[in-house]
């Protein structure tokens, strides 16, 4: 009998299978096709789950699949700082990546094997993380191990989870891409998605531990974080950006005073950072932070392409600059030409 004949006779025989058997096989087939979605959860101390991870959850929820969280933890229990928040987000299951080194910021080389195992165990078709420094570091590492092409910094995702938008050329073009990989590793632009909120009264999620003891080829030694009373630059509703025209770090204090009255965060252009007026972590731009506050006030910033890449999605943009021809005025909703050393104190007083 040829293969074709064998197949045809099998199909012919299927017609005579009991209905229950057919139903059972169909159900098994459908559940095999039911892939899941994994979200990598970043969290830190008192601040709970990172805003970026909450945006990643929203992106993940676009797909109608079981949601699984992978949470780095130093112990076999759900970290207490996020336990309630996690429950309120109602994932189908929580997978703890347990390693003693995760008591401090996890190192991508150590976390990657755990994430890989979770992807296999959950039969994940999509894996989401924030496009944070950590997300950017670990997701491509896992993608390479799975031989798939990661998709970074997405602005949108279609409900079927196949097509994505992302910015290229510092946001001067938007590229729509389609991935044919069976597992998609995706990082999400925090400002492009609403932050998922926790609801009360959800029942505890199933928590399991991912086993693993990867080689530690990299060790975390220390971190120096910018301490500030100001709201976080990446998520503040109002941001004031200072440029090189501020001329000194002392003058940046002027912006801090104004920011205090507006409950705003303070950021800076690359020129101001390079001149040493503020710390690197305040840089807004293509190679710094991408922000999209309700209100962005650009002070003494000329508006280079690379800076615009970091803030042009702000709802309202105000520009204050001495130079009427500064490019920033082309994208500002309200432009005020004048000497910032006179205008900022006036604005601070009147606000």
């Amino acid at each position: 009998m040829t293969d074709l004949e064998k197949r045809k006779s099998k199909e012919f025989m299927t017609m005579f299978l009991p209905r229950a058997t057919i139903a059972r096989r169909l159900a098994a087939f459908q559940s095999r096709r039911q892939a899941s979605t994994v979200v990598l959860i970043e969290h830190r101390g008192d601040s709970g789950i990172n805003q970026g991870s909450l945006a990643a959850i929203t992106a993940a929820r676009t797909l109608n699949q079981d949601l699984h969280f992978v949470v780095p933890s130093a112990s076999k229990e759900l970290p207490s700082n996020i336990a309630k928040q996690i429950t309120g987000l109602a994932p189908a299951a929580v997978h703890l990546a347990v390693h003693s080194s995760f008591a401090r910021p996890p190192v991508p080389e150590t976390l990657a094997p755990f994430l890989q195992d979770a992807i296999k165990a959950t039969d994940a078709s999509h894996v989401f993380a924030a496009h944070s420094a950590f997300g950017k570091s670990v997701m491509p590492r896992v993608a390479a191990a799975l031989d798939v092409a990661p998709i970074s910094d997405i602005l949108s995702i279609t409900p079927d989870g196949q097509t994505f938008e992302r910015a290229i050329y510092a946001g001067n073009a938007i590229c729509t891409v389609k991935s044919n990989d069976s597992v998609k590793l995706i990082t999400v632009r925090t400002t492009a998605f609403d932050k998922a909120s926790s609801t009360d009264g959800a029942s505890d999620s199933k928590v399991s531990v991912i086993d693993g003891s990867p080689d530690e080829i990299t060790t975390f030694e220390k971190e120096e974080l910018q301490k500030s009373d100001r709201p976080d630059l990446a998520t503040a509703k109002v941001v004031i950006g200072g440029g090189r025209a501020l001329k000194s770090s002392e003058n940046f204090e002027m912006l801090n005073t104004l920011a205090g009255k507006l409950n705003a965060a303070v950021g800076a252009s690359r020129a101001a950072v390079d001149a040493g007026y503020v710390d690197n972590s305040l840089q807004i731009g293509q190679t710094g932070k991408i922000i999209a506050p309700e209100l962005y006030i650009a002070i003494g910033i000329s508006g280079a392409i690379q800076h615009l890449a970091g803030m042009k999605d702000s709802k309202v943009i105000v520009a204050i600059n001495k130079d009427a021809d500064a490019p920033i005025f082309q994208i500002a909703d309200y432009g005020l030409v004048g000497d910032l050393f006179k205008l900022i104190p006036e604005l601070t007083e009147k606000v």
Binding site: P105, V107, A112, F134, K136, S137, R141, V142, A143, A144, A145, D147, V148, A149, P150, I151, S152, D153, R166, A167, I168, Y169, A170, A173, I174, C175, T176, K178, S179, N180, I217, T218, F220, E221, E223, E224, L225, Q226, A234, V238, K261, R270, S281, T287, K289, L295, I305, K312, V318, F329, Q330, I331, D333, Y334, G335, L336, G338, L347, K350, V351
Partner: protein, 255 residues
């Protein structure tokens, strides 16, 4: 230590150029447009050359994937102080679908072939803004990654790397061999001097095809379209602080 360093560099549209989306909406206009070495790669090349000057590295090999014009980029790196170059030949029309997954495989294979101790790349290319290649290369080689590096120093038998992260700086200790990616503040690249540009003409550039390294460059991600971003409507100028505050109040911002 005497490390062998493999530095990757990419020829991209110059950072100062205002890009235009192609009428066929499948890419941006590249014909007749000024191209240069990706700024982050300049920093990577500079760091590698400094390592050689500090006698931490013994040889710097620079590699670039692209069409014939990529050789100009390699020559620039050679003029900055790299010892020899490798040009991975990719036809111009394939450049839009050459992705980090392919480049990382090429770099990994090349790193093995060259017995490199360090692979040094720029953190991201300013055209596709991916920020993936270094991480993927490290993963394929199962090496540590010191990505977004703003400082790299020898420590014991490995390297201490200070990284630029979201809230500030992070210091890690990594074993060798390793993959590093340069962030903006790692160094300030030198300009190639005329004598060095002349010397660079004599340095060797080896030509290899991806197939020679056993790498398949079939596209994994399909570009559906490339469009202009949403345009912001023109704004208005205000005369003074009072007018500005008035407008903001109308917009719903109350102090």
């Amino acid at each position: 230590m005497a490390l062998k360093v493999l530095v990757g560099c990419k020829r991209v549209i110059d950072y100062a150029v205002k890009i235009r989306v192609r009428p066929d909406k499948l890419g941006v206009v590249t014909d007749g447009v000024k191209h240069s070495m990706n700024p982050f790669d300049e920093i990577a090349v500079e760091e590698a050359v400094r390592m050689k000057e500090k006698k931490i590295a013994k040889e710097v090999v620079v590699v670039s994937c692209g069409p014939a014009q990529s050789q100009e980029t390699i020559r620039t790196a050679l003029a900055m102080g790299a010892d020899r170059g490798v040009h991975i030949e990719i036809p111009a029309d394939q450049m839009t679908v050459l992705q980090p997954i392919h480049v990382s495989k090429i770099l990994a294979k090349l790193a093995e072939k060259e017995a490199a101790d360090v692979v040094m790349l720029g953190k991201l290319a300013i055209d596709d803004d991916s920020n993936q290649t270094a991480q993927m290369t490290a993963s394929l080689l199962d090496w540590p990654q010191g990505v977004f590096a703003s400082k790299v120093e020898q420590k014991d038998s490995g390297l201490e790397v200070v990284r630029e992260v979201d809230g500030g700086l992070e210091t890690i200790k990594i074993n060798l061999p390793a993959v590093l990616s340069a962030d903006l503040r790692l160094n300030e690249p030198r300009y190639a001097t005329l004598p060095n540009i002349m010397k660079a003409k004599k340095k060797k550039i080896e030509k290899i095809k991806p197939e020679d390294l056993g790498v398949d460059v079939a596209p994994r991600i399909e570009v559906v379209s490339v469009e202009d971003p949403p345009v912001r409507e023109a704004g208005q100028s205000v005369g003074d602080v009072d007018e500005l505050l008035g407008k903001l109040k109308d917009k719903g911002f109350s102090s």
